[in-house]
Structures are given as structure tokens and as C-alpha cells.
């Protein structure tokens, strides 16, 4: 909450003045019943002039009320939108700092809803609060105070009514809010079933599960319906109860007023004024009830946003981190007894890994699914910090350079090609902002993307939709490769990045990389022996352990697992 509310600080003037102006407006409204009382008590005795004068005062009250409330609306809109804009900007910055660990922990979809609907909820909550939060209680209590100034004995009716109303409104809210949460959960579950049935439509139909799934959906649908109606039954009490309480109070008020008038303590006009104050309370209470629902929702949203702010980036630059690598170092990457465990996991994903890679070498990394290949290369880019051991890049500890500088020197093609909305050119230029046409064309050639890009009418300026939806898997992957190669980084990591390419293209790609002019250090992660067999060194991973290291020929004699992998792919043929 606090973390979110401090964003109002910049709009402190608006935050203070908007409610004050609203209160002033409310104050003006509180005078209206008194004027009506005057008209009845004095005007009707003294003639038209007095009545006209009083009506002019009514007009003036209305006009000033308009002025006050328009400026209040403007200020609260400014404060609410302004704080939401700043909050969004900061939250986005904060999320951008997250390492993979934080990302995986929270999950993309949650982050997106917090960035969008939660912040919108906070915005409208702040806006409403500034506008109404002071106004409504002010009118409620103001009416009571005005009633006291008119007649203390009659005003005692208010003293009973207001707490009674508050009890009703707040009890209903206290009971329903947790139930609303329950409804939300049921709705989420229904949504899950729907989504699942869309994504799994082939399997569900192949297994003829339509009837079962319909049954599951219907059950959840009915459970939701019951939950919704249970809440509604309670919340639908609010309006009738306030209606009855306020009107019965009015009856009592008139009764008390009648006795007071009969005794000569107050006038007829005063009774009318008292009644009008009671009527004003009813209107405001209904507004207040709606407001409180909205505020509770906003508070929940603010809480969710705060939680994101609470998550700290786990990969941090050390204070003396520098932007320097000696690119002529003999050793490019060195693991010394490195272990790694994912946060929240109990077992190490990598166990005691040690190896050294010479500058300019090509390293193949092979192993089964879940053996830790991707984890290992993610450590080189410092997407996660190692749990134990030492990791040196160009003979310096990985945390002695800034994260940004480290990643400038590493080009990665991830397993899943992630593209962005824009053009093919925009996407490739992510690797090098000021790339020339020539560099672009070289990168296209190297990544084997030239053929299909040139086939497109717009060539490099071909539009790419969100997530690259309009491109095939292989096309996306080749663009992702071009994007990495254009960086001309001294270290290149290909994380199973040719999986969507056919074998011939894959082979050509590897050949092109091998012939890169600057002689970079290359890591090739793959499940295919053919992709790694010509590397200078092959690392064989199994269940997070390094079980073999050497060339293809060496490993065939030293590593049983490697031998098994080979024979599984070549069908026993020795090649």
C-alpha cells in the first residue's frame, strides 16, 4: 500500500485540494435546507421580495458549488492519472530489472495483469476516493451537526440513525468482501477449464472426452452460480435496509418535531429542514457504499502491485563492476566447481561443474532433456547467479563486470525464438542498433534467412506481428539467429536454436558460423550428435553432472553415455 501511495506525493496539492473543494461544495449544499426553512418560516409571512432574495442565494450556492466541484474533478483526475502513469512507468522499469529467477517465480501473466488492470483499478480508486471519500461522510455528519444547530432534541434522532446505518452498510460489506473473493476464484477455475478445452481441443476430441469435459464445465458453472447468488443475497439487503431505516427515522423525526412545534420550541420550517437533512443522508450513503466497494478493490490491487515492487532483482552488479574485458585472454570461459540450484528448488540443477574453454573454441553441449544444458549456458550470460563455485569470463570473475557489458559481449539465440512487433529489420537491428545495410545483409546470409526474406515483397521491411505470429517457426528462428550474429560478439551461444530448421539448413548454418571472421568462442547446445560432433570440445551432461568432456573421437572411447547417444541417433552405424 505505502509503496503505491507515495506516488501521490508528486500530486500533493491536488490530493489535498480536490477533497477540500468537494467538501466546500458539500458545505454549500448543507445550507439549502436552511434556506428552504427560511422561505417557509419568514418568506411566507413577509412577501415575495424575501422569497426572491432567498432564491438568488440558492442560485449562488449552486453556481459556486459547480465551480468548486469542477475544479475538484480536474484536480482528482490529474492526481489519479498522474500517479497511475508514474506508477506504471516505475513498475515497468522495476520489472525490466528482474533476472530470469524473479520472472519465473512471478510469471509473465501475473506481471501483465498487475501492469494493466491492477493499475487501472488503482487509478479509478484514487480518483473516486479524492472525489467522494471526504464528501460523503462530510454530508452525513454535516447533516447531523446542522440538525443539532437547528434543534438539539430532534437531532438526537440522527445520533441513533447514523450509527445504525453504518452498522448495516459495514456489516454487509464485511460479510460480502471475502465472498466476492470466493466468486473470483470460482470464475478463474471456470476460465481455466474453458482455456484448457481450447488448447487441448485435438486431444479431447481424439479421446472423445467432450461429454466428460462438458460435465466438468457444467459443475463448475453451477458452483459459480451458487456462489454468486449467495453473495448477492446478502448484498441486496443494503438498499432496502437503508431505505427503511432512513424513512422510519424521518417518521420519528417528524413525530418528535411535531411535539417540539406544539410546545413552541421550533417552527414548521425547521421540521422541514430537519427532514431534508435526513433525505440528504440517504442519497450520500448509497454513494458511499458504492465507493467503499471500489476502494476495497483498489486496495487489493495496490497490494498486488506492492508485492511486485517488493521482489528484488537477485542478480546485481557489484559496486566496483567495470566495463572491461581483455578479449585476448587465453581462456574465454571457465567453470570451477560450479553448482547451481533454482530458487525454491531443493536439488541442484548443476552439480560441481568444472571446465575451461579457450578463446575461439567451439564447444558442443549435449545431453538428454532436463540434463542442465540450457541452465549451464544461462549461467554464462548471468541470467542467474551461480550458487557455488567460480565462474570466470575472459579470466575475470563474472560479477566483476556490469551485467550490461557482459551481455553486450555475448550473443544468444534462445531455444524459443522471441520476436517483437515491428519489421524484420527492426528485429535484427535489436542486435546492433546502428547496423548498416551491408551488415544486415551479411547477417541474413549467415543465418540462412536471406532466401525467405528476399522472397517477401517488402523484404527486410516485412511486418512482424506480435510474437512473430505471422512467421513460421523456422523463419522466426533464422531471424533470431541473424539478430544474434549481427552483434559480432566475442562469445556466441546457440541454445538448441536450430530445432525448427530442417537438417540441411542447420548444417549450412553451422558451417557459416564456423567460418565467422572474428573467430568467436561458440557454444552449441543440441540434442543432435551431428550438430556438435565437429566441435573442438564436447561437454556431455547427464542429470546436472558433467559426465564427459572431449572431442567426438575421444568421447566415443571414454563416455558410455555419449556412446549411447551416438548409437541412438546413428542406429549403430559407425560414421
Amino acid at each position: 500500500m505505502k509503496k503505491v501511495l507515495i506516488y501521490l506525493k508528486k500530486y500533493i496539492k491536488e490530493t489535498i485540494f480536490a477533497p477540500l473543494l468537494k467538501m466546500s461544495e458539500a458545505l454549500l449544499e448543507l445550507f439549502v435546507p436552511i434556506i428552504i426553512a427560511n422561505i417557509v418560516d419568514i418568506g411566507i409571512g413577509s412577501g415575495t421580495d424575501y422569497i426572491v432574495k432567498q432564491c438568488l442565494i440558492l442560485f449562488a450556492l449552486g453556481l459556486f458549488g459547480l465551480l468548486f466541484s469542477v475544479s475538484a474533478q480536474y484536480m482528482s483526475a490529474r492526481a489519479a492519472v498522474g500517479m497511475a502513469t508514474d506508477l506504471k512507468s516505475d513498475l515497468f522499469r522495476h520489472i525490466q530489472k528482474f533476472s530470469y529467477a524473479e520472472h519465473e517465480k512471478i510469471g509473465a501473466s501475473t506481471l501483465i495483469t498487475r501492469m494493466t488492470s491492477d493499475i487501472n483499478q488503482v487509478q479509478s480508486g484514487v480518483n473516486l476516493t479524492l472525489r467522494l471519500f471526504l464528501r460523503s461522510p462530510f454530508i452525513v455528519f454535516g447533516s447531523m451537526i446542522m440538525a443539532f444547530t437547528l434543534d438539539v432534541k430532534s437531532a438526537l434522532v440522527f445520533v441513533v440513525t447514523i450509527p445504525l446505518l453504518s452498522v448495516v452498510v459495514f456489516t454487509v460489506m464485511a460479510v460480502t468482501i471475502p465472498k466476492y473473493r470466493n466468486v473470483q476464484e470460482k470464475l478463474d477455475s471456470l476460465m481455466l477449464t474453458t482455456r484448457e478445452n481450447l488448447s487441448g481441443v485435438r486431444v479431447i476430441r481424439a479421446f472423445c472426452k467432450e461429454k466428460d469435459e462438458t460435465e466438468i464445465f457444467n459443475d463448475k458453472n453451477i458452483v459459480l452460480n451458487i456462489a454468486q447468488r449467495a453473495v448477492a443475497r446478502i448484498s441486496s439487503l443494503t438498499n432496502p435496509m437503508t431505505f427503511v431505516i432512513v424513512n422510519i427515522s424521518a417518521v420519528v423525526l417528524i413525530w418528535v418535531g411535531a411535539i417540539r412545534v406544539d410546545n413552541g420550541d421550533i417552527s414548521q420550517g425547521t421540521v422541514i429542514a430537519l427532514y431534508n437533512y435526513m433525505a440528504q443522508i440517504l442519497v450520500e450513503l448509497i454513494k458511499l457504499a458504492n465507493l467503499i466497494v471500489s476502494i476495497t478493490k483498489s486496495i487489493a490491487s495496490a497490494g498486488r502491485i506492492s508485492k511486485v515492487f517488493d521482489v528484488e532483482d537477485s542478480v546485481l552488479d557489484s559496486l566496483d563492476a567495470k566495463d572491461y574485458f581483455d578479449l585476448n585472454s587465453e581462456i574465454a570461459v571457465e567453470f570451477k566447481n560450479v553448482s547451481f540450484r533454482y530458487p525454491d528448488s531443493t536439488e541442484n540443477s548443476l552439480e560441481n561443474i568444472s571446465f575451461a574453454v579457450k578463446n575461439g573454441e567451439t564447444i558442443g553441449i549435449i545431453g538428454g532433456t532436463g540434463s542442465g544444458k540450457t541452465t549451464l549456458v544461462n549461467l554464462i550470460s548471468r541470467f542467474y547467479d551461480i550458487t557455488d563455485g567460480e565462474l570466470n569470463i575472459f579470466e575475470k570473475p563474472i560479477n566483476s563486470v556490469t551485467e550490461k557489458f557482459l551481455r553486450d559481449n555475448i550473443a544468444i539465440v534462445p531455444q524459443k525464438a522471441e520476436l517483437f512487433k515491428g519489421t524484420i529489420r527492426d528485429n535484427i537491428k535489436m542486435g546492433k542498433i546502428n547496423a548498416t545495410e551491408e551488415e544486415l545483409s551479411v547477417a541474413l546470409k549467415l543465418s540462412q534467412a536471406e532466401e525467405f526474406v528476399m522472397k517477401k515483397d517488402e523484404g527486410l521491411d516485412c511486418k512482424v506481428e506480435q510474437y512473430g505470429k505471422n512467421l513460421s517457426g523456422g523463419q522466426k528462428q533464422r531471424i533470431a539467429i541473424a539478430r544474434a550474429l549481427i552483434k559480432k560478439a566475442p562469445v556466441i551461444i546457440l541454445d538448441d536454436s536450430a530445432s525448427a530448421l530442417d537438417l540441411a539448413t542447420d548444417a549450412k548454418l553451422r558451417k557459416a558460423i564456423k567460418e565467422l571472421p572474428d573467430n568467436p568462442t561458440v557454444f552449441i547446445v543440441s540434442q543432435r550428435v551431428s550438430a556438435v560432433m565437429n566441435s573442438d570440445k564436447i561437454l556431455v551432461l547427464d542429470d546436472g553432472e558433467l559426465v564427459g568432456i572431449g572431442t567426438h573421437e575421444e568421447l566415443q572411447n571414454t563416455s558410455d553415455i555419449y556412446k549411447e547417444i551416438c548409437s541412438s541417433q546413428f542406429g549403430g552405424e559407425e560414421r
Binding site: I36, V40, G43, V52, C55, L58, G65, Q73, S76, G82, T85, S89, F92, Q96, K97, Y100, H103, A108, L111, T116, N127, L190, G200, R202, A206, C208, T214, F217, Q228, A232, R233, S236, P240, M241, V244, N247, V251, I254, A258, I259, D262, V271, Y275, G368, T369, G370, S381, K404, D408, E418, K421, Q466, K487, D502, L503, A504, R528, S530, I565, S568
Partner: protein
């Protein structure tokens, strides 16, 4: 307009069964309106009995107050029952519509599901239905009570004093005009706002989902700049939209207070002349207060109603979407597993022909492998074989029967299918594995899992076979999910098999280990195997090499190698560097 009419007709077919309840709620609304309008009259009467000191007519006052108390209670009760009925109608309609949606979902052609964004369909069933229910049903009652209040007020006022009534009638439209003027201006602003907001959401989504790439390319700063640009212009638009729209309230309130003033002025003068009592003036002032309120409410509700109808139209377009072609009625007499494609033509879109005049006879028990570059039509063959899509022309004959003549259930239950995209439902491992055969015993399942090597990792899950998997398999790796999908078919043991890249995410060593299980599973069964890893299909009886929807080579591995054609090159490239 015509579509609107249709929409209402369709809506009525759904809420028709709540007719009686609808009538009752309207009746109760009327009761409440009359009561809430009658109260000011009674209050006025009461005030008239309280004239001055020693001039209070208690014997007249008491019955009036009792009367008020009674009708207030009646009003409260009718309002309460009304909202209970409204909730009943609303939530049940929501439930009914969602049920219709889901029933339809089960009968939609796969083509529809493939070509529409899933998020869009989900939001129709969840969000749109909610918006419709809130907007339409609540809106209708509000409009109805609003109109009743206006008419009722006019009648009550006219009965008391026609002159003041005319003054009120002349003045109130001012507030309507003001509200309309403002909402006309703000409509465009809101549209701009939602467009900008959509743009911002799209960017946020992209940058967060693609976080890995953003980090790898140090793109954070640029993403922030892009975001801030959109964010700032959104801020400006939002400020305008919110401010202008929030003007409605103060402006109409101002107009209301002017009406109030005029009523006070004219009313007081009438009292002075003696043609109106003080109590009536009080009643009039109450009316002036509540008379303009329904106008404001109605103008607010109208936009909500429009939105609700738009949502409803979207929902109906789903509910009334064409279903898949009619089901056949027959079932297979023999289950031997012969398959024949006879001059089959198929394409996803008419302008892009894909499979043309494809014919193939498959003997019972044969293993057919299909290879070829991406987009060649491998998966398409499976789509038409399982009747996920219907062929354009030609016939597919299975077990001697055209697949159009047998029920889909019969057809599909004869096939076991493992796809490249592993799909698991949220539920326990066991539930997922028994998807094909509900009454499989745990022993059967474990035996199958042992054969596919899935047992060893399932065992290590927190609750073994009863571990609950999250949405789309939760934290399992792609390879583990694929093993579960294979086990699922293993448990089912169907007469025919379709394996579409069934082992693409499994490493080759494990693949080799489960190949025996596959051999056992495929033994004696007609099987269709799609794979790009050629080593997995070398033993197939026949290999179809496809390119651009056509079969360009056919034969077993050795035939095709010696032919030195497309397949030969494909196979060779596997070992090239």
C-alpha cells in the same frame, strides 16, 4: 438494425423461461416507484398538520405517520424481493448462456478454434457474458424504474399543481442536453484512450513475455523509452477523458439545483397566494430533487446498454456459429485397421490448394511414415484422417467404411494419438494417463508407465501418480510431458495409431530406450508416424516423402536411399556438418 432485432429475439429465447419472474420484478419495481413517490406526499400532509405552537393536529398526524411507516416497510420488502429476483434471473441467465457457449465449443469445427485467438473466445465466454449480464439486466431495470419514476412524478405533481409541473418539465431537458453534450464529447476521448491502452498492453505483454530476449540484447532501456512514450501520451488522453466525463455530474447537479430553486420560488409564491400548502411545497421540493435523478441515470445506463448489446452480439456470434458437419451414424463392423485415401483433395483456404488428388491404400497392420519439410502437409493428413477437418472431395475409407458415415466418436476411439504439442489437463498424473480408458487400474497404468520410462520420474514427483499437474502440465519438462502423452496412449491400447512427432522433445537416448515399448505398441496396428528425425522411421513399412502437399516419393528406407532422390538428400544432410 436487423442484427439487433435478431439479437433480441435470440436473447428472448434464453430469458423466455424467466418470463413470470420478469413480470414479477417489473410489478415490484412499479410498487416501489409508487411508494417512493407517495412518501413525499404523505410527508407533505404530515408537515401540514404541524403548523405552529399549540396548533399541531396530532389526531391527524398519527395516522399519517403510521401509514408512512407501513408503506416504507412495504417499499423496503418489495425492493428486497425485486433485487433477489433480479439476481436470480441475472446469474441464471449467465449460467445458461455459458452452458450454451461451452456446448457449442464442443461442436465447433477445429478450423474455427485454429483460426480464432483462444484468448478472444475465452473472453467472450467469461468477460462478455458478465458485462452483458451486468449491463443489460441491471440496465433494463434501471431504465424501467427510471421511466416509471418520471411518469409517476409528473402525475403526482400535476395533480397537486399544474403550473409548477410545467415549469419543471420545461427545465429538466436542460440537464439532459448538458449530459448529452458532454458524453458526445467524451465518447471520442474514451475511444482514443482505449486504443492507446490496448497499444500499451500489447507492448507490456510483448516485453514481459519476451523478457529473455530483452535481457539478452540489453534492450531494457529502449523498451522503457518506448513504454514511457506510450505511457505519457496515454496519461494525457486519460486525463482529458476522465475530466470531461466527470463533468456530467456537477453540471447536471447544477441544473438540478436550478430546478429546485425555481420550484421553491414558484411554490412559495403559490403558498403566499394560498393555492398551495406548505406541506405540498415540501412534497414538490422532494420531487424536484428526485425527478431529475432518473434522467441522469438513464443517460448513463444507455451507454452501458449499448456496450452490453455489443457483448451479447459477440457471444451470440459464438453460440450461433456453424457446427461441424453432421455426424455419421454407423460404427465399424471390423476393426482390422485398413485405411484408404481415394482421390482426396484438401486445402485450408480455397486460394491455396494443398493436398490434391491423393490416393493411398494402407493394409491392416502397416506402419506408414510421413516425412518432408515444414508445411508439406504431414500434419494435414492426420487432421483429415481424424476428421478434425473434412476433405474437400474424395473419400477416406477406414475398415471398409467411409469415415463420413461413422460417428466421430467411433472413428476417433479407434485411433491413439500422440502429438508434438503435448497437452495435459490440470489434474493428477493418473487422471491424465487414464484419459483414454476411464476404468484402467493403477497397475495397468504403472505397467504402461514403466514401458515408456515415465514411471521413474513420476515416482519422484511429490505425490507420485496422484501429483496434481498445473495448467498445461505445470512444471514438467517438454520431454516429460511427451512421455506422459505416450503413456496415455499406451494405457488406451487402440487399434490404430497416429504419432505426430511423438518423440520430438525426448532426447535420443531415452527415445532408444522406449523404442521397444513403441514396437510393442505398434505391433499389428496400422500406424501413421510423422517425424523429422529420420532414424526413428527407418523401420517403417512404407515412407511417404511429401513436399507441397504432394507425395513425391514412396517406398521403404532402403528403396528410397538407393533411389538417391529427395529422401536420400534429407537423410544424408543429417550427418553433414
Amino acid at each position: 438494425m436487423n442484427t439487433k432485432k435478431q439479437t433480441f429475439k435470440r436473447l428472448f429465447s434464453i430469458i423466455g423461461k424467466y418470463k413470470a419472474m420478469l413480470a414479477l420484478t417489473i410489478l415490484l419495481a412499479m410498487v416501489f416507484v409508487v411508494i417512493s413517490l407517495y412518501i413525499p406526499v404523505l410527508i407533505g400532509d404530515a408537515v401540514d398538520t404541524i403548523v405552529s405552537a399549540d396548533n399541531v393536529k396530532f389526531d391527524a398526524l398519527v395516522p399519517i405517520l403510521v401509514k408512512i411507516a407501513i408503506i416504507v416497510l412495504l417499499g423496503g420488502i418489495s425492493q428486497w424481493i425485486m433485487s433477489i429476483i433480479n439476481n436470480y434471473i441475472t446469474y441464471n441467465t449467465v449460467r445458461d448462456i455459458r452452458k450454451l457457449c461451452f456446448d457449442k465449443l464442443m461442436k465447433l469445427p477445429i478450423k474455427y478454434i485454429d483460426s480464432n485467438a483462444h484468448g478472444g473466445i475465452v473472453s467472450r465466454i467469461i468477460t462478455d457474458v458478465d458485462t452483458f449480464a451486468d449491463g443489460l439486466l441491471m440496465g433494463v431495470t434501471q431504465v424501467f424504474t427510471g421511466i416509471a419514476t418520471i411518469i409517476g412524478t409528473l402525475i403526482f405533481m400535476a395533480l397537486m399543481n399544474p403550473v409548477i409541473t410545467v415549469a419543471v418539465i420545461v427545465l429538466t431537458p436542460v440537464s439532459l442536453f448538458a449530459a448529452k453534450f458532454i458524453s458526445g464529447r467524451t465518447y471520442k476521448l474514451f475511444k482514443n484512450q482505449s486504443e492507446k491502452r490496448a497499444e500499451q498492453t500489447a507492448l507490456t505483454e510483448e516485453m514481459i513475455t519476451n523478457q529473455k530476449t530483452v535481457k539478452a540484447f540489453n534492450y531494457e532501456d529502449k523498451a522503457i523509452v518506448e513504454f514511457d512514450n506510450i505511457n505519457n501520451s496515454l496519461g494525457k488522453i486519460s486525463l482529458k477523458a476522465i475530466f470531461y466525463s466527470s463533468l456530467t455530474n456537477p453540471v447536471t447537479r447544477f441544473v438540478n439545483s436550478m430546478v429546485y430553486m425555481v420550484v421553491a420560488l414558484i411554490g412559495a409564491i403559490f403558498v403566499l397566494k394560498g393555492s398551495l400548502t406548505v406541506g405540498m411545497l415540501v412534497s414538490f421540493l422532494s420531487y424536484a430533487n428526485q425527478y431529475t435523478k432518473p434522467f441522469n441515470e438513464i443517460s448513463g445506463v444507455i451507454t452501458e446498454l449499448q456496450n452490453a448489446i455489443a457483448c451479447l452480439e459477440r457471444v451470440f456470434s459464438l453460440i450461433y456459429e456453424d457446427e461441424y458437419s453432421e455426424d455419421g451414424k454407423a460404427s465399424f463392423n471390423d476393426h482390422s485397421g485398413t485405411v484408404e485415401f481415394k482421390n482426396v483433395h484438401f486445402s485450408y483456404s480455397p486460394d491455396k490448394p494443398l493436398i490434391e488428388d491423393f490416393s493411398l491404400k494402407v493394409k491392416a497392420g502397416e506402419t506408414i511414415a510421413i516425412v518432408g519439410p515444414t508445411g508439406c502437409g504431414k500434419t494435414t493428413l492426420i487432421n483429415i484422417l481424424m476428421r478434425f477437418y473434412d476433405v474437400k472431395s474424395g473419400e477416406i475409407i477406414i475398415n471398409g467404411k467411409n469415415i463420413k458415415d461413422v460417428t466421430r466418436e467411433e472413428l476417433r476411439s479407434n485411433f491413439g494419438m500422440v502429438l508434438q504439442e503435448t497437452w495435459l489437463k490440470s489434474g493428477t498424473v493418473l487422471e491424465n494417463l487414464t484419459l483414454g480408458v476411464k476404468n484402467a487400474t493403477e497397475e495397468q497404468v504403472i505397467e504402461a508407465a514403466k514401458m515408456t520410462r515415465a514411471h521413474s520420474f513420476i515416482k519422484r514427483l511429490p505425490n507420485g501418480y496422484n501429483t496434481i499437474l498445473g495448467e498445461s502440465g505445470g512444471s514438467l519438462s517438454e520431454g516429460q510431458k511427451q512421455l506422459l502423452c505416450i503413456t496415455r496412449v499406451m494405457v488406451m491400447n487402440p487399434p490404430m495409431l497416429i504419432l505426430d512427432e511423438a518423440t520430438s522433445s525426448i532426447d535420443t537416448r531415452t527415445e532408444l530406450k522406449i523404442s521397444k515399448a513403441f514396437d510393442l505398441l505398434m505391433k499389428g496396428k496400422t500406424s501413421f508416424v510423422v517425424a523429422h528425425r529420420l532414424s526413428t522411421i527407418k523401420d517403417a513399412d512404407r515412407i511417404l516423402v511429401m513436399k507441397d502437399g504432394n507425395v513425391i516419393e514412396i517406398g521403404n528406407h532402403n528403396d528410397l536411399i538407393s533411389k538417391k532422390g529427395f529422401y536420400y538428400n534429407l537423410y544424408k544432410s543429417q550427418f553433414e556438418v
